[in-house]
């Protein structure tokens, strides 16, 4: 198993840096996701780790050894491409054998390893098929098997599920994650789908414009986002503004205690996730802010409400559909003080 360390890595294609001085330490066997909007430099970072692009500056170390000048074929990586990149003129078996042949693995060992990896991706019996004779999900698993059968130091995946339909995508998430845990291989996974990054990763690296905005566990990223951009990228969020007082912020939801240094009198933004909020009927007489239901969307397991607070601000709330409110209903909104997260001063 391999520890990967990226230090001040920069890539400039000639029009300003596409990746700007990023540093990540990836532990042995860790599953790390690079998450960010289109064009933020995820693929570029992955290509530099793989060796397809030269770094303009910075270091990439596998177990302490700088690999920046090591060519792709000597880096001992396994890579899964968005379009799978299976060799169309080779059968599944030949595709899987390719990397082993390059490593001069003996013939009978190639055969046993292919059998083992096919079993692992549940494709035993498909070895004589050509890629065009497989479904998208099966091709995906062959691509995964081809990257894993060489037992590489690290596994790199670039949006491997982007071409699958929603249901298959969710199945494959679990499949890849389980497989990665079993094999214990250090993995870097590129995606712009926050749900994918959250469910699969040990840690998520959120990138914007070539820079790292935050590195943390999925719950760090979701519950304690580093800034407004991160908070908005990893899910729905209500931004609640308030005046800073003595260790509190006065908001439409009342006074919220905050830790940390925030100059009194300034305006602060707080993040409040829609599912952190509770809706109660006015008749309950419970502790809450009065609000009016503007609209609601039912999606089976959940209901999304848009509400207008007494002060005129709107909030999104997501609840279980146990008690339903109709548009125009008056409700009480209860948001626990510990579910607010400070994002920084409002501009």
């Amino acid at each position: 198993m391999t520890e990967v360390s990226i230090e001040k890595l920069t890539k400039d294609y000639g029009q300003g840096p596409a990746v700007n001085s990023i540093s990540i330490r990836i532990a042995e066997g860790e599953f790390i996701s690079l998450l960010g909007p289109s064009g933020c430099g995820k693929t570029t970072t992955l290509k530099m780790i793989a060796g397809f692009e030269d770094a303009t500056e910075g270091a990439i170390r596998f177990d302490g050894r700088d690999v920046v000048h090591v060519p792709v074929e000597k880096r001992d990586i396994g890579m899964v491409f968005q379009n799978y990149a299976l060799f169309p003129h080779m059968t599944v078996e030949k595709n899987l054998a390719f990397g082993l042949e390059m490593r001069k693995t003996p013939k009978d060992e190639i055969r046993t390893r292919i059998a083992r990896v096919l079993d692992m991706v549940q494709l035993t019996g498909y070895s004589e098929r050509y890629p065009r004779q497989l479904s998208g999900g099966q091709q995906q698993r062959v691509a995964l098997a081809r990257a894993l059968v060489i037992e590489p130091k690290i596994l790199l995946l670039d949006e491997p599920l982007a071409n699958l339909d929603a249901k298959l995508r969710e199945e494959m998430r679990v499949f890849i994650r389980d497989l990665q845990r079993r094999v214990g291989i250090t993995t870097v996974y590129v995606t712009h789908d926050q749900a994918e990054a959250m469910t699969m990763s040990d840690r998520v690296v959120v990138m914007f414009g070539g820079r790292i905005a935050q590195i943390g566990t999925p719950s760090d990223i979701y519950e304690r986002p580093a800034n407004l951009e991160v908070a908005e990228f990893v899910g729905q969020v209500n931004i609640v503004r308030g005046k800073v007082g003595n260790r509190i912020v006065s908001t439409a939801f009342g006074d919220i205690p905050v830790s940390g240094d925030h100059a009194a009198g300034t305006e602060l933004m707080l993040a409040l996730r829609p599912e952190a909020v509770e809706l109660l009927p006015v008749s309950s007489g419970a502790d809450g802010v009065p609000a009016k239901v503007l609209s609601s969307y039912y999606s089976g397991s959940l209901v999304d409400y848009r509400l207008e607070l007494a002060g005129g601000a709107t909030v999104s709330v997501q609840t279980f559909p146990r008690t339903r409110f109709a548009d125009g209903d008056q409700v009480l909104v209860h948001a626990p003080a510990d579910r607010f997260w400070p994002l920084g001063s409002a501009a």
């Binding site: 074929e73 491409f81 060799f87 390059m102 050509y130 081809r146």
Partner: protein, 285 residues
Amino acid sequence: MNVPAKKRFGPLLLIAPAALLIGVFLVLPYLNIVLMSFRMPGQGTPYGPGFTFGNYGKFFSDFFYISQVINTLWIGFLTTFICLVLGYPVAWQLARGASAFRAVGYALVLSPLLVGIVIRSYGWTILLGNNGIINRTLTGWGIIDGPLPLMYNALGIIIALVHVFLPFMILPIMSAIQGIDPSLEAAARSLGASKVTSFRRITLPLSLPGIQAGCILVFVLSLSAYVTPSLIGGLRVKTMAVTVVDALIDTFQWPFGSALALMLSVTGAIIVVIFGRLTVMKWKA
């Protein structure tokens, strides 16, 4: 079941224009040539009354004609092979090279096609002739004593044919390489293949459809080429196409000329079919 007439004839109506085109421009002329090749030779007329196998008998009994088919095939093989060897690297550069080269390279590859084939072949006679530029320069520099035999032989014909047909090799190969997803080469590299190995195991086999198309095009065009061989080969080396035209125009033997033309077409077709069988790609749908 009773299918309404409209439904039954609808598809036929749709393919009718194409069928008519192929029929009028491809099948009918061919049938006419086949028919002609069985006619009696005429006296002072293109053909006489009645039918005969004699034209084919004449072909098979005179080794001169058979050897000429063989020569023509050899010229075709060599032209095709040389075009492939010279054309593939150019095609690769056009498909995968630096973008600055691609625009210029594409124009250069196409430029010979802008000049008529007669002009191009005359150009080669100026270069290759005994009193041509190459021989005069070499003699002038004292490198050779007498002129090198560059014209009026198979070598000259092949040189000129390669020049004339090179674009027909380059273009299909280029488009085949352009159709190969570059991430396949990247995948091969990630699996431990060097650039050379990745070319040999991935790019080359996947460009086979282009190679196949280019080879068939150049081979068929070389077999049927008339202008270039007649100008460069002169009276000394004749390809089958030249002999066919001689028979038709000089000696006015339409039936025999047709038989000769058909023998060349049939041999060429057999070779193309065998080539297609040998290079069949199982992985393609």
